[in-house]
């Protein structure tokens, strides 16, 4: 049954090794020509690096925004903790596409937010953020923040709070306690959040398509262009295979480090 899921990738694999010709016949003359074309093409490399950069910035922002929130709910809220977490999750019940659209509805030049800020005199002219790198990253943060906060929160909840008391009894100040005790102990949560945000964002297709322009394209859009635009399935396949291999190697590195328990979402 698992084979059924992998059948499409088997066919894409055949295409990537040039083993299917233009008449859709299988030929047994494997070649790496499409891989070498992808790897030697600087344009593809540039888009790949941009995807890494977008996903990296998104992870960083999610961590900077998400850590204080997870910390606050876990450490400072005594009653109604569950209520706070549910209130945090509710916006993520809305489907991914609708969340993206909702963001478009306030980032638009003609949007309520822009009219409000202009009429308050805070800005002179509407913010033109749509179709920029910033828009793509902002919407990615909005869409994937929950993937950072939930593992962080779960991690902070499990953290043995007597250790923090011990640190302060032994004379560590609050900053020192945080840097030397809390932060290192929450590393598993940070790593899990990193993976859960980085993987879907680096392969993002919908967000750059809707709020970005051709200058903000990511790997997902490039793969799409090869398959649907240029109809060059061989290059598209080689690109897909390389990208999947990259993602899988990230996950394998993570599992090696944390152990398989880290994958039990």
């Amino acid at each position: 049954m698992a084979i059924w899921f992998y059948a499409p990738f088997f066919i894409v694999g055949l295409y990537s090794f040039d083993m299917i010709n233009i008449n859709r016949q299988i030929v047994f003359t494997p070649s790496l020509v499409h891989y070498s074309r992808v790897l030697s093409w600087t344009g593809a490399m540039g888009i790949f690096l941009r995807s890494l950069y977008f996903a990296g910035v998104t992870v960083l922002l999610c961590l900077l925004i998400g850590y204080p929130v997870a910390y606050y709910i876990s450490f400072k809220i005594k009653k109604y903790k569950d209520l706070f977490i549910i209130l945090f999750i509710i916006p993520f019940w809305v489907s991914f596409l609708l969340r993206t659209y909702a963001m478009m509805s306030i980032l638009d030049e003609r949007s309520f937010l822009n009219t409000l800020l202009t009429s308050l005199g805070l800005i002179d002219s509407p913010i033109k953020i749509m179709y920029t790198d910033a828009a793509v990253i902002l919407v990615m943060v909005y869409d994937y923040l929950v993937m950072m906060v939930l593992p962080l929160y779960a991690n902070l909840e499990k953290l043995d709070k007597t250790l923090l008391e011990a640190a302060s009894t032994l004379g560590a100040g609050p900053v020192r306690t945080f840097l030397k005790v809390t932060l290192p102990l929450s590393m598993p949560g940070i790593l899990a959040g990193f993976l859960l945000v980085f993987i879907p964002t680096v392969g993002e297709f919908v967000i750059p398509e809707l709020v970005g322009g051709p200058n903000n394209y990511m790997v997902g859009n490039l793969i799409y262009e090869f398959f649907m635009g240029a109809r060059h399935w061989w290059i598209g396949s080689a690109l897909s295979m390389l990208f999947i291999a990259f993602i899988l190697s990230l996950v394998i590195a993570y599992v090696r480090k944390i152990g398989e328990r880290g994958l039990a979402f």
Partner: protein
Amino acid sequence: MKGTTPFLKIFTILVFLFLYSPIIVMVVFSFNESKSIGVFTNFSFRWYEKVINNPEVWKALFNSFWVGAVVTIVSLVLGLMMAMAVTRYSFSGKSILESLILIPVIIPEIAEALSLLIMYIFLNIPLGPVTVIIGHIAFDVSFVTIVMRARMAGYDKSIEEAARTLGANEFQTFFRITLPTLYPAILAAGLLAFTLSFDDLIKTLFTTGPGFKTLPLIVWSSAARGGVSPELNSLSSFALSISFLFAVFRLRAERRLER
């Protein structure tokens, strides 16, 4: 860190504001009388009327529901079987099978969707509802299996043995003991599978044939074509309320599981 508490509180409130305001603005402006998406003039159901009177929307909604239902049922049956196989029996290649189940969750959806499309074209399979359903199932089975496996880990097998000792045959044991005991997990996994299928855009977009549209496809094509509009606001708010309803069901099912 006593001194930082007020800062953390304000920061958290701002983050909640950031999360809620786009959705609230979208819903509020779906009730706007004017065509503007920046100035609220008057309350009106005008755009909802337009959405409700659009037969394409109803057709897409109907498609989303029946595709979701078929996907849920098939994914549950297959996922239950896989979860039982990996939790109850040991066989060679089990750990490989377990990783094979996890991988679909990790692979970028765009690569997955385009690979499916290439396979359909290669095998000359005409695109339509069937290809959409097959694509959804291939992916949802993994999620169902992961949820079921986690729940089955703590499953007490002795009640099945008791049933067998008391003279129940294998089918009776499965339908009267195993299934009812696993019911909360099945419900939670089923609602998850339905939501995943109902909200799916990318796989549906690339594996559908001419004329077969689901609700996310309509939202996508109008958002990609015309950007933000009051009509799309109301369609999205309408779709949002459905997603929401299912999320509430799912939460209640999960709560039940925890007890």
